[in-house]
């Protein structure tokens, strides 16, 4: 390839990476944690006195009956989550439609004495981290679309990055050169992580576009190609079944046990995780039963749709009988959500997710280093601004996530814990950005890394102090979500501390002609901050 073409691709890689890097950093950092969504929920609600034994299916029926008696207008958007080994309680959730089109969530549980518990769970940390993953912290209404566009550009950055690295692929792939030239080190590390995880990143770019802005990528074909409703054409293949039209005639619903038995008959070996009711109590009620089946393939999601009153099976969606379209689509989604392979694959995703966050951070650092003026103290204003923003957003996000964990544990009995978690996250996040803009660049980054270390090490301390579960007790009781959160927190805290110490040394002894230079330059802080 011609040198001029390579230069163009380098330019594209640069703007695409800079334009999306920070949003992707947040998405990947939060995404790596979201891999353990279910385990985080358990960590977050560990203090709750859960029922001692897994509730049986008769109790699911009892819960549903009590909930419907309590809220007779609860006919649609009604879901039953049967108890599982990790969630010994059945849960009924009703998403009540509000006049403005939004939904209000109601939760129902069965107490051990058999009465109805309508208290909302205040364990919302996992949900918040997940939202952070697909919105990067922007308002959900448009954040998801912004992340979709970011994913498009991310794909472009990946391909152009690979193209510019290809000529040196064999020579440089495993060659991370540590030395005086820090730019060389960051470039080698950036290339190694980027190229090794390239297929995984491409899958994420593609699946994220499908998940976030998929509807916009297929909508034009409705106008261009099809007279019929395109969604009706592809819906059945994806297991999307329109609910039956209600006839306004009440009829008894089939018992939950019977509904599950029909689903089991249609999809042997199927473990239900969710029952969705539409037009509950109507003769034409629809029940969609979703769950997992051990197919020993990438795909495990099964769906059975039936008439809730008569038991007539309306549709069955099973990986073994799926068409090529559903297999490709569901395969892509399964790869994104890591709904296969068990804990080994989840840990691999966790490491790759953190590696992805490093990729974007190091890419931004490279840009700053590339523009460095080696023979003068004053550095370009754009480099200084970007260094501040990069440190504030990326390190600030990590500090804010640790603070959210901490707040969630310390305020575990607070009714509005979910809100407080969000305020804590955004408070720390924006304070971190502000701090980077009022302090010299390197000093701000170092302080934030100290803050990260302190906030992160405080998580297992809070587990011990507030919950009475120090890590050794969690180990003894085999409370693995607590053990893992504490272990990862301690490890991360050590890494943050080492990075902060390294940054501190950089400030004291590093080259003065850099945006990261510190007090050794002899410049007053205000002057250093300008550079």
């Amino acid at each position: 390839m011609k040198k001029s073409t390579m230069k163009v691709f380098l330019g594209v890689h640069t703007w695409a990476g800079l334009g999306t890097g920070m949003a992707l950093f947040i998405a990947f950092y939060a995404g790596a944690l979201t891999v353990f969504f279910h385990e985080l929920e358990i960590w977050d609600s560990y203090h709750k006195a859960a029922v001692s034994e897994q509730q049986n299916i008769g109790e699911a029926q009892q819960l549903l009956d009590l909930a419907v008696t309590k809220q007779p207008n609860m006919t649609s958007n009604l879901r039953l989550y049967p108890a599982e080994a990790d969630h010994p309680e059945h849960v009924v959730r009703w998403f009540e439609r509000q006049p403005d089109g939004s939904f209000e969530r109601h939760e129902f549980r069965l107490t051990e004495s058999g009465s109805l518990n309508t208290a909302e769970s205040n364990a919302q940390l996992a949900g918040f981290i997940y939202r952070l993953h697909y919105t990067a912290g922007l308002p959900t209404g448009f954040g998801v679309y912004i992340l979709g566009i970011v994913s498009l550009i991310y794909g472009l950055a990946l391909v152009t990055g690979l193209i510019i690295f290809l000529p040196n692929l064999l020579a440089d792939l495993f060659n991370v050169r540590q030395g005086k030239n820090k730019k060389r080190f960051w470039l080698d590390a950036h290339n190694a992580v980027g190229v090794i995880s390239f297929p995984w990143h491409m899958m994420f770019a593609w699946s994220s576009v499908v998940l976030c802005i998929g509807i916009f990528t297929i909508a034009p074909f409705q106008l261009l190609v099809y007279d019929d409703d395109l969604l009706e054409l592809i819906g059945p293949e994806l297991g999307v079944v329109q609910p039956l039209e209600p006839i306004g005639e009440s009829a008894p619903m089939l018992p939950v046990e019977k509904l599950l038995a029909i689903a089991e008959r249609e999809a042997p070996g199927f473990a239900a995780t969710q029952l969705r009711f539409t037009n509950f109590g109507d003769r034409q009620a629809t029940v969609q039963i979703f769950g997992n089946s051990n197919t020993e393939t990438l795909l495990s999601n099964v769906g059975v749709t039936l008439n809730g009153s008569t038991g007539e099976v309306l549709a069955v969606s099973h990986p073994n009988t799926s068409g090529i379209g559903a297999t490709i689509y569901n395969g892509l989604i399964a790869l994104h959500y890591v709904s296969f392979g068990g804990y080994l694959v989840k840990w691999i995703y966790f490491v790759l997710g953190m590696g992805g966050a490093f990729l974007f951070y190091s890419g931004n650092l490279l840009w700053i280093e590339t523009r460095r003026k080696r023979r003068q103290l004053r550095q370009p204003a754009s480099s200084v601004f970007f260094a501040r923003l990069n440190s504030g957003v990326c390190i600030g996000c990590m500090a804010a996530v640790s603070a959210a964990f901490l707040a969630s544990r310390i305020l575990m009995d607070l009714e509005y814990r979910g809100d407080v978690i969000e305020w804590t996250y955004y408070g720390v996040f924006f304070a971190a950005i502000g701090w980077c803009f009022v302090r010299p660049v390197g000093v701000g980054a170092r302080d934030l890394l100290w803050a990260c270390a302190v906030l992160t090490v405080a998580i297992p301390v809070a587990d011990a102090a507030v919950l009475g579960m120090p890590i050794w007790r969690s180990l003894a009781l085999e409370a693995w979500p607590l053990v893992c959160v504490s272990g990862i927190s301690l490890l991360s805290a050590v890494m943050f501390w080492r990075m902060a110490a390294s940054m501190h040394r950089r400030l004291q002894y590093g080259d003065a002609n850099s945006v990261w230079a510190g007090a050794r330059t002899g410049l007053p802080n205000a002057q250093v901050a300008e550079r």
Binding site: S4, T5, V8, F9, G11, V12, W15, L152, I153, G155, L156, V159, T160, I163, A205, W206, V209, V210, T217, I218, P220, F221, L224, V225, Y226, D227, D228, L233, I234, E237, L238, G323, I324, G325, A326, I328, Y329, L332
Partner: protein, 87 residues
Amino acid sequence: MLARSLIAVLLSIPATFALVGVVLVLIPQSTNAILPVLLLVFPVWMTLTCCSYLISDLQQTVIGLVAIAAVGFGLIATLRWTGLTLV
């Protein structure tokens, strides 16, 4: 770089819909290949965007992408109008 990138990124969008649309017109409506073809929007867009950077002349890039879109949309309209489409 800004003008070049805007052209590459934005003009590749209609060209992508035109190319994928032509394939969709030629696929029977009943086939389960519709979904995989719809999923090709992202890879096709990315390929077109990257390839458009290979053309050194900006004007030629614009002409190329507009031509792909125009020919594609024209083909879709013609196939549908003549009834040769399998949709």
